[in-house]
């Protein structure tokens, strides 16, 4: 039993047993409570929220002066200006609305894969498991969204959209979020697709309303990534592409002549691993990552690469904050 296994066991014991793997620790929750999910542009919700809406409204945030016209709420008349100038002006304030934050969690087999571990036994996984790590990030970011009076939704997908958590609101819904994420660690019906469009270009997969979407995936799709990003843009989503890769993928530690078995397709490939091959792998990785990053930049999306060997606390509280993905609440 590795240290990671033991940590997972301990964590399960100290918490209530539900969402034992995904639920952030108390200290992390305290840290995340003060953060909110960043959103670009004006948002439009149906309920009062903390998001500055595109329309003027009733928040405390001053926007502009405007000459009074009959019918304006006289409570908004600026009496000081009227007293000095004798002209009536009304103060205008930004409207504040909530926004939808949808987490797209990739639960394909490549996300679950961990050498020597059973993919349907999340309790044996180590800390560097990509799916576990992505679920924890989603839990933190979702909790931050709930704390920031935003609505949080989760969609988990593999070869197709497996299940979704419809938008929940309020800090009290956090346990539902965590429970859903915990369930997502369970066995997937589908091993995954080679094309990201297969699950995400399906009708109804993307949110109907504009909002913020977080796509947590390892990006190991041979095709369809660019088109999927375009589809998010078309759905008026501000996308955060969280690229979750393990240390073995960032820096493969393989040596010798190996027969590599693809976890999803079970295809085998004989590779003699030597410096040249590793260099070529590095090139291929850079090109792959660069392609996604470039497309994200073109669409105004955020690309965020994650190494699962980095502790989640640091990723969430330090790196994401520094990148502006999570901001201090107003």
């Amino acid at each position: 039993m590795s240290a990671g296994d033991r940590a997972a066991r301990d964590r399960g014991r100290e918490t209530s047993g539900r969402a034992a793997l995904v639920r952030p620790g108390e200290s992390l929750l305290r840290g995340v409570e003060r953060l909110a999910v960043a959103a670009s542009g004006r948002t439009r919700g149906t309920q009062q929220g903390k998001r500055r809406s595109g329309s003027l409204g009733s928040s405390l945030e001053f926007a502009d002066y405007r000459a009074y016209v009959p019918g304006d709420d006289i409570r908004r008349l600026d009496w000081n200006v009227y007293g000095r100038t004798g002209r009536a002006y009304v103060r205008q304030y930004w409207d504040e609305q909530e926004t939808d934050v949808t987490f797209y969690l990739d639960v394909s087999r490549s996300m679950r894969f961990e050498p020597g571990k059973e993919e349907d036994r999340p309790d044996t996984w180590t800390e560097t498991n990509k799916l576990l790590y992505a679920a924890r990030i989603a839990a933190c970011a979702g909790y931050a969204a709930l704390c920031g009076d935003d609505r949080a939704a989760v969609v988990r997908f593999a070869g197709r959209v497996e299940d979704r958590l419809h938008p929940v609101r309020g800090r009290g819904a956090a346990h539902r979020l965590f429970d859903f994420l915990e369930q997502s660690l369970g066995p997937a019906a589908d091993p995954g697709a080679d094309d990201l469009r297969t699950p995400l270009a399906a009708p109804g997969a993307l949110p109907p309303r504009p909002g913020v979407s977080w796509l947590l995936t390892d990006g190991l799709y041979a095709s369809g990534i660019e088109e999927t990003l375009n589809a998010f843009a078309a759905a008026r989503q501000h996308l955060v592409f969280v690229h979750v890769l393990g240390p073995d993928e960032w820096r493969p530690a393989l040596r010798g002549e190996l027969r590599l078995i693809d976890a999803e397709s079970a295809a085998a490939k004989d590779v003699a691993i030597h410096p040249d091959a590793l260099r070529a792998y590095d090139e291929a990785l850079k090109e792959h990552v660069g392609g996604i990053r470039r497309r994200c930049a073109e669409l105004g999306f955020v690309y965020f690469a994650v190494d699962t060997s980095v502790p989640p606390e640091e990723t969430v509280l330090v790196r994401m904050a520094r990148h502006g993905l999570l901001q201090r609440q107003r």
Binding site: D218, I261, D270
Partner: protein
């Protein structure tokens, strides 16, 4: 190319072994990873750059198979005939002994083995790089260095063309020793030996890097006239001829006895000789003739010994004028030596013209020389060899008799003193006088000179300083020998024929007194190839210009007349000499090349000699030689260094292949 150990081909089993290893090779350890995607891209990128990458695994197999095949091949000891460095000298030894005039190998189209050998050598020289210096040695009685480090091909061709046969004794070993000295310590030097193999020579441990043999001639049959003698009877001649047949099959033919000048034989005898058989044929009742020729009329591969000449012994006697008291012993001893004595008393006899004609030389025995002081005597004495025998009773002017102190003798080598010891001889009185200018003491007794020899006006002079009557010499065996040797030396063994001699051999000829010039005249030659020798050969002379008494016999077998001329150009006499080729050349008892010390090589040589090697062409002969060289067993003396061993090159190739294999592996051949 040669394979030194073809049996090593069994190592080629390594090839299927490698295949088996590939079939049973360890599978790659399976490693599950999240996705192939990036690896696929990484490797596809590499493969896109090199289309042959897909072949890599089979390339690795192919490389290993090549390496294994190379190893097996190297173990088989491959060699190729190598090229020496462009400046390595070539020393060619051409055997030109009489046996080389035998028939060439069948199909070569050459007249004889010598031509065949020379053609082969010339063709091989043409193939040499022009920078390689060629030294040409022709074997003879003494090796003849025809060319030294010559690079001009025209010059080499000319020198090769000038080589003709030598019928005398040839010393191939001397030629090879000389060649060995020339090639020793010279980088890459090659020794070429062109021969029919009928030589006795040792090329073991030759200093040459490579030895190349140019095989010529065939292992044929030879019927030889080993001996031919003639006996003059009262009214008819008798002849006896001995024939020997060398060969593997019986020989049939006719033995013809042809008298001098006749076109038709006086007698003929058919013969059939078994291999190795020797038979004597006698002929009686032959008409008298100056000489007879015995010749074999049969199919024969070697013709130099197919004819022999014989002439009856000429019972010609010399005549000496004995002046003085004379001695019964002396007369008897000279008579034994074949000298007719004419006694003359100087007091009563004055030599006339007929005396000049009939006298070969003069013995003056104790005569008072004052009585000879007449014009006629002086003229006679000055024109004839003289043997003076001093007498103590009448010593020459100024002479005195002395008694020797002891009987120690001291003999100096001289034709007259050969076989003379004077041992046990007692000499009572010895005359001491001045023997005259140019006289040398050739024998001493008791410290006193007893025998002087010298010459005066080109004529021999001999002085015996004691009277035989004052000694017991006439009773000793030395006396008739001394008399005979003195007579021969003084009279030049006048008369008689010169007998038989081997071609080019040195023969001693007693010259007639007064011979100023002499020459050899060809009477007839055997049916052999000649080098265009002149019909008349001037006799050799000594350093002081006189005709030498040691002459070299003419080089071509046949019959020759030795004619001597006096100072006035008048022929003094003529004698016949039958010249035959060196006997050993015709004794074909051994297989060719059995004398070169290559026991394992006889078969190869037979092969060549039978003419089955590419019609005896230059290449054929050369290649056969090379093959024979390499086929020689260890210790046979041939070095196979001229063959380049390929094993080191194969080793380098294998190393390169290993490097290539490593590179292929390093680039991920297993993908």
């Amino acid at each position: 190319m040669l394979l030194k150990s073809a049996a090593s081909a069994v190592f080629a089993l390594a090839l299927p072994a490698i295949l088996l290893m590939y079939l049973l090779r360890r599978r790659y350890p399976e490693t599950e990873i999240a996705s192939h995607l990036l690896w696929r891209r990484a490797l596809r990128e590499q493969e896109a750059n090199r289309p042959w990458q897909r072949l890599r695994r089979s390339l690795l197999l192919l490389l290993q198979l090549i390496v294994a095949a190379c190893l097996a091949f190297a173990l088989m000891g491959p060699q190729i005939p190598g090229q020496a460095s462009p400046a390595a000298p070539v020393v060619i030894v051409v055997d030109r002994s009489a046996s080389m005039t035998a028939a060439a190998s069948r199909g070569s189209g050459e007249a004889d083995a010598l031509d065949e050998a020379l053609q082969a050598v010339a063709a091989a020289v043409e193939e040499l790089p022009s920078s390689r210096p060629v030294t040409l040695i022709a074997a003879g009685a003494e090796p003849e260095l025809l060319l030294g480090d010559e690079t001009d091909r025209r010059e080499i061709r000319r020198a090769l063309g000038s080589i003709g046969p030598r019928y005398g004794r040839t010393d191939e070993e001397a030629a090879l020793t000389l060649a060995d000295a020339l090639v020793r310590d010279r980088e890459g030097a090659e020794l070429w030996l062109a021969t029919d193999g009928r030589i006795r020579a040792d090329i073991e441990g030759a200093g040459a890097t490579g030895v190349r043999l140019f095989v010529a001639g065939r292992n044929g049959a030879n019927t030889s006239v080993a001996a031919f003698g003639l006996q003059a009877g009262a009214d008819a001649f008798e002849a006896a001829a001995t024939l020997i047949h060398y060969g593997s099959r019986p020989a049939e033919g006719t033995l013809a006895i042809v008298p001098a000048g006749a076109a038709e034989p006086a007698a003929e005898r058919p013969f059939r000789l078994e291999p190795g058989e020797q038979r004597v044929f006698t002929f009686a009742g032959l008409p008298s003739a100056e000489y007879y020729r015995a010749e074999i009329r049969a199919v024969d591969d070697y013709e130099a010994d197919n004819a022999a000449f014989a002439f009856p012994a000429a019972p010609e006697r010399g005549r000496a004028l004995l002046v003085g008291e004379g001695s019964l012993f002396l007369a008897a001893a000279l008579g034994l030596a074949g000298i007719d004595i004419v006694q003359a008393d100087p007091a009563r006899f004055e030599p006339g013209d007929e005396t000049f004609e009939s006298i070969d030389w003069i013995v003056i025995h104790g005569a008072d020389e004052k009585a000879l002081d007449t014009a006629a005597w002086r003229k006679l004495i000055d024109s004839r060899p003289v043997w003076r025998i001093w007498s103590a009773s009448s010593p020459p002017p100024g002479g005195r008799a002395a008694e020797p102190e002891d009987n120690r003798t001291e003999i100096r080598p001289h034709p007259v003193t050969a076989h003379i010891t004077l041992a046990d001889t007692h000499i009572a009185r010895i005359v001491q006088a001045d023997p005259g200018p140019g006289m040398e003491a050739i024998a001493r007794y008791g410290g006193l000179p007893v025998l002087y020899a010298g010459s005066e006006n080109g004529l021999p002079r001999l002085v015996l300083a004691f009277d035989p009557a004052d000694s017991d010499l006439p009773l000793r065996a030395d006396f008739p020998i001394l008399a005979a040797q003195a007579a021969e030396w003084l009279g030049g063994a006048a008369g008689g024929h010169l007998g038989r001699a081997e071609a080019d051999a040195s023969i001693e000829i007693g010259l007639r007194s007064g011979t100023a010039r002499a020459e050899w005249r060809t009477v007839e030659t055997a049916p052999v190839r000649t080098n265009g020798e002149a019909a008349v050969i001037e006799a050799e002379r000594t350093a002081d210009g006189a005709v030498s008494s040691v002459q070299t016999a003419p080089g071509v077998p046949g019959l020759y007349r030795f004619v001597e001329y006096g100072g006035d150009g008048r022929p003094l006499g003529e004698r016949l000499l039958a010249v035959h080729a060196a006997q050993a050349e015709g004794m074909w008892t051994d297989e060719p090349f059995s004398g070169i010390g290559l026991p394992g090589e006889a078969g190869e040589t037979d092969h060549a000699a039978d003419g089955t090697t590419g019609a005896g062409s230059a290449d054929g002969a050369g290649e056969t030689g090379a093959g024979a060289v390499s086929g020689a067993p260890e210790g046979a003396g041939f070095r196979a260094d001229a063959l380049i061993d390929l094993a080191p090159y194969i080793a380098v190739l294998i190393l390169l292949l290993l490097a290539a294999e490593w590179e292929v592996y390093r680039r991920g051949a297993a993908c």
